[in-house]
Amino acid sequence: MFVTASGSHENPAVPDQFTPFFLEWEPQVRRYLVWLEGDLSIIDDVAQETMISAYRYWERLSTLEQPRAWLFKVAGQRLADAQAARSRLGVLAEPPDVCASLTARDETATCDDRLHILEAVRRLPPQQAAAMALLIQYDLPFREIADVLGISVGAVKKHLHLARKRLKEWLDAEEGGFHGA
């Protein structure tokens, strides 16, 4: 018989309060990740790992009035790990197209041209993209964005300024090229 070191699970069952928490926050974590990553299999993976971490830290997490900063921080760290692993190991197969897969999995999903701006945000440096996602998607105050990213409020403002500047340059250049063609 071969041996596996099974993960230790202090609680034999998922606590009842975790269910509503999961239903509310797991989709929010995914919506945050979709600003940062286009590969749906990585989003699936990272969202799952984040929620498993939430379960493991449930005793502490359940006491927080606003757990979103913790969740987004963990999701960001897990995403960085997954992206580093992808760079190291390469892509196994063509990643599933986010828009197509989302529409197929979620009948209520709207997947139109507006999502194309996400591709531009994903091309930003990670902290700029994350700051932009947290501001646009969740209207998080600068202080909370700073907590998620582990940086100062001043740095958040700087990231957002640079992000807007770059996005504007890229989009202007694309549209200029398009109109000129």
């Binding site: 018989m1 071969f2 041996v3 596996t4 070191a5 099974s6 993960g7 699970h9 034999p12 998922v14 269910t19 999961f22 239903l23 797991e26 989709p27 995914r30 919506r31 979709v34 600003w35 299999s41 699936d44 993976d45 969202a47 799952q48 790992e49 929620m51 498993i52 379960y55 692993a85 190291r88 190991l89 390469g90 196994l92 197969a93 063509e94 989302l102 999995r105 979620d106 009948e107 209520t108 999903a109 709207t110 997947c111 139109d112 507006r114 999502l115 701006i117 996400l118 945000v121 932009m132 646009i136 998607q137 807007r164 996005l167 504007k168 989009l171």
Partner: protein, 201 residues
């Protein structure tokens, strides 16, 4: 259109994603299975019955977590054996219950892994939904890649020659197994494409 407005509209579009409550409940159910102590039953070689059989993706995810949390060489080697075990379980499940075009590479996968690690009592898990095969194979491919990197680390620090050669064999086996997984993913994509063409026609 102004940048701010476009960003806000993208935000509203993202708000429309993952709104299916039942799909979220299904994902929670999957996590509950991962967190259940019975989830590792197939990985340790016991025969999972219909009531307790974990899903293959859950096994692979749990194995990845175990490997990622292993730091000492002895622990990593134990995790690598678990990786071999889970790979064999996936292979056997596909041989027994998978689609026809995956059975031959699945058999090769199982045989290759069995040559590198002492597998006993690995059993197939009944597959209920062939749609789940692609994520399982993607996860398994990643796991095998990560396991190969971990084996290189153990080999590099090995003081005993026996351990070094054991890890070299494991590296080769996982590398070949990963190639077979990629081949299975390709076959799966081809069959999906031909299915779409057939139905579009």
């Amino acid at each position: 259109m102004a940048l701010e407005k476009r960003l806000r509209e993208a935000g509203r579009a993202v708000d429309g994603l993952w709104t299916d409550d039942q799909a979220t409940r299904d994902r929670l159910a999957r996590i509950r299975r991962h967190l259940s102590p019975t989830a590792s039953s197939a990985a340790v070689g016991t025969a999972p019955d219909a009531a307790t059989a974990p899903d293959l993706a859950g096994l692979v995810v749990q194995c990845r977590r175990t490997l990622a949390s292993s730091s000492e060489a002895l622990h990593v080697r134990s995790s690598l054996r678990a990786v071999a075990g889970v790979t064999a379980v996936v292979g056997l499940s596909l041989v027994d219950h998978g689609p026809q075009r995956l059975r031959e590479p699945a058999l090769r996968l199982t045989e290759r892994i069995a040559r590198s690690a002492p597998l006993t009592d690995a059993r197939a898990v009944a597959l209920t939904d062939t749609d789940d095969l692609r994520p399982v194979l993607l996860l398994l491919g990643r796991l095998l890649g990560e396991a190969g990197v971990a084996a290189v680390g153990v080999a590099a620090g090995a003081e005993e020659e026996g351990v070094y050669w054991e890890m070299i064999e494991v590296i080769d086996a996982f590398d070949e197994a990963r190639n077979t997984v990629i081949e299975m993913l390709r076959r799966l994509s081809e069959s999906e494409r031909s299915w779409s063409h057939h139905h579009a026609g």
